[in-house]
Symmetry: C2
């Protein structure tokens, strides 16, 4: 029986603009979630937080801050970092989650370190070989798709891809409200015989499963939204994710260059700016904010290092949603169903 | 000693809009290249050409058309097709090239079939394990990069990637006029230890080579133009290529949707259309037209099935350029240099 309110731990030290954006986003979520009886626990270096708070003309004295001495940097080796920096905001947050003091962890830090710390501290859900990280991809349809793995699970076996498909499917159903998500394998052709032997075997597993498997899709089908869940090896997923993240910047650069040629064009560009900005936002992968790390025994929301305060606020809301939808329990249940049964 | 004029064979039957676009593009090139003493040989089904020509109100009677009875379709199995359809425009064009009657082949047909027919009929350049197809990628810089392999060479070994790097480098130097092309491996991190064992071994080979190897780059560096030659396995390359090709369409769809909301926005969109169209064109991979198939003993320019007449005209010019720059001979020479020597 739960007698305490829901609690979400926020790692304030992870991102590129930490702890400023993290603090601002957490504060906003804190105000909004108060009436829903959700508490936020902040983890970070108290002195650095004080400095930042002072600049922002706010006080952190009344806030639930847990002081952590160390910080895991973006460049740190993940396994090394979590072994050596035991008193970092990330490791401490995971420990709070493992001991049941909080119900979720939100972090914008070193993705590899989050993955390692979560797997090591929380453990894996029964039936999961490798926890996975997905990303939301904008599509021509009105709703995004889930692309996974993008968490650098390189050299996946058919069974891994199969598990990613199950986890992605549960995620799409529970957090994107897609009742029967269409699952596809990302391949270089639609035919069953295409691609590597790993993909052919994964195809076979998925075809025999209870999932709504629609077969192979190609690179061009991702943005069309042909599938709700797109499954691939972490190598391909990571390259696609980073390519996708660079698109908005490339467009902005080219638009700026075009705007410099002639007054009329510059005027038009200025008038058109709000529309363009909106469009670029749709294609800006960063705005989708955090995604849950799937397959660990806990709710861990991973965000981009460059997350804005709004993105961080959204991550905290997503954590709340994942707790409420019992994401971990549903993942575990889905993975217990044997491949060939309904 | 060459006593006849240069001759380029154009497969008229390959593309999605064949033979109309192919015929129009070839006619334009024919007129422009006449003064440079370059002859074009057209291969296709004479009756179908007559029908198309009639609709266009032109005559093909005076044109150098070589009648071919069969056509290799986009859905055909490549090796099957070139074995059974000996009298197809594609196979016949390759045979003309192999026997020295023409100096280059241009085709917008089934890519797999072009690859198979070229490799089988022309043979491979000494030192090449697998011929490769690249694509030009627009960048934030003013010039495109070469991404290869995108020709579906799946499961590449380190030696294959190493050869792709050499061939891409020669291509960038000879056809893009980049003196010392920066070569990079596409990976999930910049460190030498990242990615698969294949990539680590390829890294070692490239580091020891005479190429201007700048190390690993990530997905986000492609559009930045960090490297002139981006080397990857055909699986990743194919997915990236098709994802890239779908971008312009996705943007157009979203812009159209935005334009439907409100009169002011629609007016702005209309005013802004020429600028946007120009921008979209830059990102429309199809406009880069054909790329040479690298590593076969001949000049073979492969184009997109949906090539416009202009794209086909450009492909013929590119074939001419490749002949003049002695691309095949230079590839062969570059591949003879041992990895560790200068």
């Amino acid at each position: 029986m739960r007698i305490r309110p829901l609690r979400i731990a926020v790692d304030l030290m992870g991102g590129d603009f930490a702890p400023t954006n993290e603090l601002l986003g957490a504060l906003q979520a804190m105000v909004e979630l108060k009436q829903r009886a959700v508490e936020i626990v902040l983890l970070g270096h108290r002195e650095r937080l004080r400095e930042v708070a002072q600049k922002l003309a706010i006080s952190i004295e009344h806030l639930p801050v847990l002081h952590t001495e160390e910080t895991i940097e973006m460049g740190d080796d993940p396994t090394e970092a979590i072994r050596l920096k035991r008193n970092s905001s990330l490791v401490r947050a995971m420990e709070l989650h493992a001991s049941g003091e909080v119900d979720a962890v939100v972090s914008t830090g070193n993705t590899g370190a989050i993955l390692a710390a979560a797997t090591l501290t929380l453990g894996k859900v029964h039936g999961v070989s490798r926890p996975t990280l997905g990303t939301l991809v904008p599509t021509e349809q009105q709703r995004p798709s889930v692309l996974l793995d993008v968490g650098a699970n390189v050299g996946c076996k058919p069974q891994h891809l199969y598990e990613f498909a199950i986890m992605g499917s549960v995620y799409a159903r529970e957090l994107l409200s897609i009742e029967r998500p269409r699952v596809a394998l990302l391949n270089i052709g639609e035919e069953e015989t295409k691609g590597t032997s790993t993909l052919r075997e994964a195809y076979r597993l998925l075809k025999a499963s209870y999932l709504n498997f629609i077969g192979n899709i190609e690179g061009r089908d991702i943005l069309r939204g042909t599938a709700d869940v797109v499954v691939c090896d972490g190598f391909v997923g990571n390259i696609l994710l980073k390519f996708g993240e660079s698109l908005a910047a490339a467009w902005r650069a080219r638009l700026r260059a075009l705007g410099q040629r002639g007054l009329w064009r510059r005027l038009l560009l200025w008038l058109f700016r709000p529309t363009l900005r909106r469009l670029l936002r749709e294609f800006d992968y960063q705005n989708y904010g955090g995604v849950p790390l799937l397959g660990v025994r806990g709710v861990v929301i991973v965000g981009h290092g460059r997350s804005t305060p709004l993105a961080i606020r959204n991550m905290i809301f997503r954590a709340h949603e994942a707790i409420q939808r019992a994401l971990v329990q549903r993942l575990e249940a889905a993975l217990q169903v044997s491949p060939v049964s309904a």
